[in-house]
């Protein structure tokens, strides 16, 4: 069980994220019973078997995009995106695409090197669950971090969280000097 921030609240999440160890075949991964999230390659290799269970999710590595899962969006229990390094910004586009192009409305987890200073941008790109590395933050720090979700209350640009840009959301009146 890891502590995650889900929809702005700290909760325990029981999803188990499976990774492929060195020398292991993704297709041959031992997928235990219960709520598990498998690598994309495992899902693609054993799609029918895993989809039938109804409690299996898929995670994307940094270099994997949602195109590969386009036909299965309605069949996965959950989607997660790995952040191998916190400065690797590909996952932000992956999330935005899942939400805006592929119609994914379920739980979307950011995991790996997920830092509180990125929570605001991550949620605006469509992540509803933020899972920092185990032990990365104390409970008190995580509490404080929840507040950072609202760092920018009225952002300029359209995003998953604000589908309309500011110039369409509000009437902006010039205040010429």
């Amino acid at each position: 069980m890891s502590k995650v921030i889900k929809n702005g609240r700290i909760v325990n999440d029981d999803w188990q994220i499976l990774t492929v160890a060195e020398g292991e075949e993704a297709a041959a991964l031992d997928v235990p019973a219960g709520r598990v999230i498998v690598p994309l390659a495992t899902w693609l290799a054993r799609r029918d078997e895993l989809a039938a269970r109804g409690d299996v999710g898929v995670w994307f590595a940094g270099n994997e995009g949602p195109e590969a899962l386009a036909d299965d969006i309605g069949h996965v229990a959950v989607i997660a995106v790995s952040f191998p390094k916190f400065v690797d910004g590909r996952g932000y586009s992956t999330a935005a695409l899942l939400r805006t192009r592929y119609g994914y409305t379920g739980q979307l987890i950011a995991f790996g090197e997920v830092l509180r200073d990125q929570f605001n941008y991550l949620t605006r790109c469509g992540f509803d669950t933020l899972q920092p590395r185990e032990g990365r933050y104390t409970d008190a720090q995580l509490d404080a971090a929840v507040a950072s979700l609202a760092d920018f209350t009225e952002p300029y640009q359209a995003s998953v969280l604000h589908p309309q840009p500011l110039f369409r959301r509000v009437a902006r009146v010039g205040v010429k000097a």
């Binding site: 935005a96 300029y156 589908p163 110039f167 009146v173 010429k176």
Partner: protein
């Protein structure tokens, strides 16, 4: 100029609060150096050789007098009483202690300024034409578009952790004064045959380690779609740009690897999904922003001012300043003025708090309260009455801001170099100083005419050396500082990357090398031919021959 509404102000204030907390956590040891790095960089804060360097954004180079005064005050309170204007129309502090930076951000926010995204692997400050709105060759004012795009890019959640930094420039005149060809995206405003406004879009230009001239990805994208098109470019780059090697991570490398046609295909594929979406611009929003850039209240004046011509005829020093530092204006009776920050003996682009306050006073008195920063690191008053030029000149001269050298050899573009920057391989300011000292004869400078010397202390090319008519690059050879020289580079519509003339030189040789290049030009030039045109006509060889002739070992021995 653009003024913040409650939304702009709130975002900047929220940023200050966010950064204050991040700094507090960093100083408390909660945020490691590695985790703090991108956070501080996206607030313009570098850890430098001697002290932190703090870079403040000046969107498309516009400054109000109250902003100039705030910079002066901050430099005096938190720094050593001067600031440095950069080649990207930003301004830098060099000596402020780390822990005061959030306080400086808070002070800047009071005058609608910030340091947001002035560094880091995100979309940086938008640069544009310093003569926007007043230039005779302007087709469309680029400033509203630069402001609209600035807002789109500010705190963009998807593009804050790009493979590498991302720079966009906007031009709206016949002559490109924003160097759009060497930007990640270069936007050129134009009208199509139906008279509709749109953009020619260049992509993948850049200087640095691999200098490349940007390539045209679209010849015309209607204005409504400029945000969605840029978003498509950024998304393709964010997803597929290289992240394994920071030297190969700029978009120019991706564009080169795919080829412009394949890259264009991928962008259009992406664009097809986002085109006509919510980010499509509205007439109302464009009008709202454009209203801020309407002409100031010009007086109806005669085209010529008798007193002004009298002063030119009577006062040679004034005439020489007018010739170099005063530019034509679209309105009769007005002119634009360039205040030179290239006084010999002062590092290029540096200005003291006292001078900043004087500039603010003159802005209020002579130019509707505004000044502008050029990428050549000078300041501009866009709207000065011709009848007041002589008064302004006298004041500027007293303050050391009227060196009549704009566009001349001593108007050198120069990065802070090894004196300040931890990336630098070599010092650059002393090279500029030595060249300025060598060429101290104004008559000679005027005879040499328009020439651009650009100096960078390392291959990151902040001094834009590749596009200098003469480019000087500091290189490190076994721990020693050497300087490589290129010629034939240029900015503007015919932007070109300079070619290396040969082996690099020791610092002490540099003034001689420049002298020899100039002498070769004077010897070879046709009447009225500029240095760059002579280089283009005769090629590198005559220059090489001259410069290296005296530098062969046996000649040196013979000369002893």
């Amino acid at each position: 100029m653009y003024r913040y509404d409650a939304y702009d102000q709130k975002l900047v204030d929220e940023r200050v609060a966010q950064f204050r907390d991040q700094m507090r956590r960093h100083l408390a040891g909660e945020l490691s150096d590695d985790e703090f790095r991108p956070v501080r960089l996206q607030n313009g804060l570098y850890i430098q050789r001697h002290a932190p360097m703090f870079r403040v954004s000046i969107p498309y180079g516009h400054l109000a007098s109250r902003q100039l005064r705030k910079l002066a005050e901050l430099a005096r309170t938190y720094d050593k009483g001067y600031v440095h204007f950069t080649t990207r129309q930003n301004v830098q502090f060099n000596w402020s202690p780390l822990e005061v930076i959030p306080e400086m951000c808070a002070e800047l926010a009071k005058v609608e300024m910030h340091s947001i995204q002035t560094s880091g692997n995100c979309i940086r400050n938008f640069t544009s034409d310093p003569f926007a709105g007043v230039a005779g060759d302007e087709l469309i004012d680029p400033r509203p578009w630069a402001e609209i795009l600035r807002q789109w890019a500010t705190f963009h959640p998807e593009f804050a952790y790009l493979p590498r930094k991302f720079k966009i420039a906007v031009n709206g005149a016949k002559e490109d004064r924003a160097v759009i060809q060497v930007h990640d995206i270069g936007l050129d405003l134009k009208k199509n045959d139906a008279g509709e406004i749109g953009f020619r879009i260049l992509v993948g230009g850049g200087l640095g380690r691999t200098p490349i001239i940007g390539r045209e990805i679209e010849s015309f994208i209607p204005w409504q779609h400029i945000i969605t098109y840029c978003e498509a470019i950024l998304r393709v780059y964010n997803r597929y740009g290289r992240r394994d090697n920071s030297f190969k991570a700029r978009i120019k490398i991706l564009v080169s690897a795919l080829g412009i046609d394949e890259f264009r295909w991928q962008v259009r594929e992406e664009w097809a999904h986002v085109k006509d979406g919510p980010n499509t611009l509205t007439v109302e929003e464009v009008h709202r922003v454009a209203d801020f850039f309407e002409d100031p209240a010009y007086e109806a004046l005669p085209a010529d001012d008798v007193g002004y011509h009298h002063h030119i005829a009577e006062d040679l020093a004034f005439a020489s300043w007018v010739k170099r530092n005063v530019r034509a204006h679209k309105k009769p009776g007005y002119a634009s003025v360039v205040l030179s920050l290239k006084k010999p003996g002062v590092p290029p682009g540096d200005i003291t708090s006292e001078q900043l306050e004087l500039v603010a006073d003159w802005a209020d008195r002579f130019s509707f309260g505004e000044a502008r920063v050029t990428h050549e690191q000078n300041l501009v008053f866009a709207d000065v009455k011709k009848s007041e030029l002589h008064t302004l000149w006298q004041l500027a001269r007293k303050a050391g801001l009227a060196t009549p050298n704009i566009g001349l050899l001593t108007d050198i573009i120069c990065c802070p170099g090894g004196d300040f920057c931890s990336l630098a391989n070599a010092k650059s300011i002393p090279i500029a100083a030595a060249i300025q000292e060598r060429f101290d004869d104004l008559d000679y400078l005027h005879d040499v005419g328009d020439i651009e010397i650009n100096i960078s202390g390392c291959m990151n090319a902040c001094g834009h050396h590749h596009v200098g008519h003469i480019g000087i690059l500091g290189v490190d050879k076994n721990g020693e500082e050497w300087y490589q020289v290129t010629i034939g580079g240029s900015q503007g519509n015919n932007a070109a990357i300079g070619k290396v003339i040969g082996p690099s030189f020791a610092r002490a040789e540099m003034p001689d090398v420049i002298s020899e290049l100039i002498e070769t030009y004077i010897q070879e030039r046709h009447e009225d031919e500029l240095f760059i045109d002579t280089v283009r006509r005769i090629g590198l060889d005559p220059f090489k021959t001259r410069v290296y002739a005296d530098r062969q070992p046996h000649r040196k021995v013979a000369n002893v």
